[in-house]
Symmetry: C3
Subunit: 160 residues, 3 copies
Amino acid sequence: MVDLTQVMDDEVFMAFASYATIILSKMMLMSTATAFYRLTRKVRNLEVFANPEDCVTFGKGENAKKYLRTDDRVERVRRAHLNDLENIVPFLGIGLLYSLSGPDPSAAILHFRLFVGARIYHTIAYLTPLPQPNRALGFFVGYGVTLSMAYRLLKSKLYL
Amino acid sequence: MVDLTQVMDDEVFMAFASYATIILSKMMLMSTATAFYRLTRKVRNLEVFANPEDCVTFGKGENAKKYLRTDDRVERVRRAHLNDLENIVPFLGIGLLYSLSGPDPSAAILHFRLFVGARIYHTIAYLTPLPQPNRALGFFVGYGVTLSMAYRLLKSKLYL
Amino acid sequence: MVDLTQVMDDEVFMAFASYATIILSKMMLMSTATAFYRLTRKVRNLEVFANPEDCVTFGKGENAKKYLRTDDRVERVRRAHLNDLENIVPFLGIGLLYSLSGPDPSAAILHFRLFVGARIYHTIAYLTPLPQPNRALGFFVGYGVTLSMAYRLLKSKLYL
């Protein structure tokens, strides 16, 4: 039987595990940020409609309705969250397979560091908000890193 | 050569595979639930605009347009689906790496069970809908379980 | 110590890595498609509200505001992107675990090929757009393939 704890002795895989956990934890903070902005701004606005049962604490009937509106700040956090999801999912899938394909450790760790740094910068640029092209820069660095891993993986291990 | 079928002999990994498959299948049911509500309510409302080609069966021209509106019930299923996605992606990534880091089997299986139970409860609370804080409870239990796995993983295997 | 590069010698796992990387790269192209349509149509419309800082290049003050609207074409790309995300995440999770559960290689590769083909067809049908049921066909083939992998995985390796 394979002792699975040994899989984690691989340097690249251990680094991937650490960086992936950090960036996923950061993404989870976005849910908390949405809830925080909702409470401080007393709005409930998931997409277009809200959940009426969530407003009960703020008032009843017509009084509750006024909280069922959208708010610029909350929408911004939600867009940043969705953008995270759209970019972290490919990183997780491609990064995991890339880690298992036997890459050069220093190149692999550079990829992971760049991605995590770029996504954290993207979130800061989105939420502050910093003027463009700060956010675009964060986005494209993360995007390029993922494509670079995909290219290296397919070049060494393509099997269709 | 490593015989990959042996990887699945590990108790924790096999449990993770089972629970992850169950919760992903549940998430896929949300797509079907959206389609079901759309057909029974005859609405097409992905986000703000709909796809005109989807209404053809219900009428032509102006008659079709009236189906291009939003519906509270369908929006609710969509929000539950997006919330699932936002929470199940971190569970998959962190849970997979945590399973490989050699955790105590009974602690690991308790984490998986709590997460799957909490997310199913969250969906029921969202779609019924049950009054708050039922949904919030389901959300925070799942959230806490994922963070607990992330903490244990980083504590034992941090490599930056 | 396990040599992780050997994991990739497994035929099924190598095929899964290739197909998963291809479909994730396709999904990433959707971000670029959104940006492309935004620039050619000069709109910024993430969900309901836009980011005012993104319009600066097109004008100042009231002149910028007119670009803060929604556009049918851009919304369509965004819906296709979200649908991709909702279907590719279960494929990644279930497909990875299925690849490790020792399936018949030819059956496994058929699953991966069908899924990737169906999702590419779905995107073409969504963006052209082709009349229904083209898009629904692409969706249900991908959906069925994922459920079939989940069923085989749970049948052989259920451990709760």
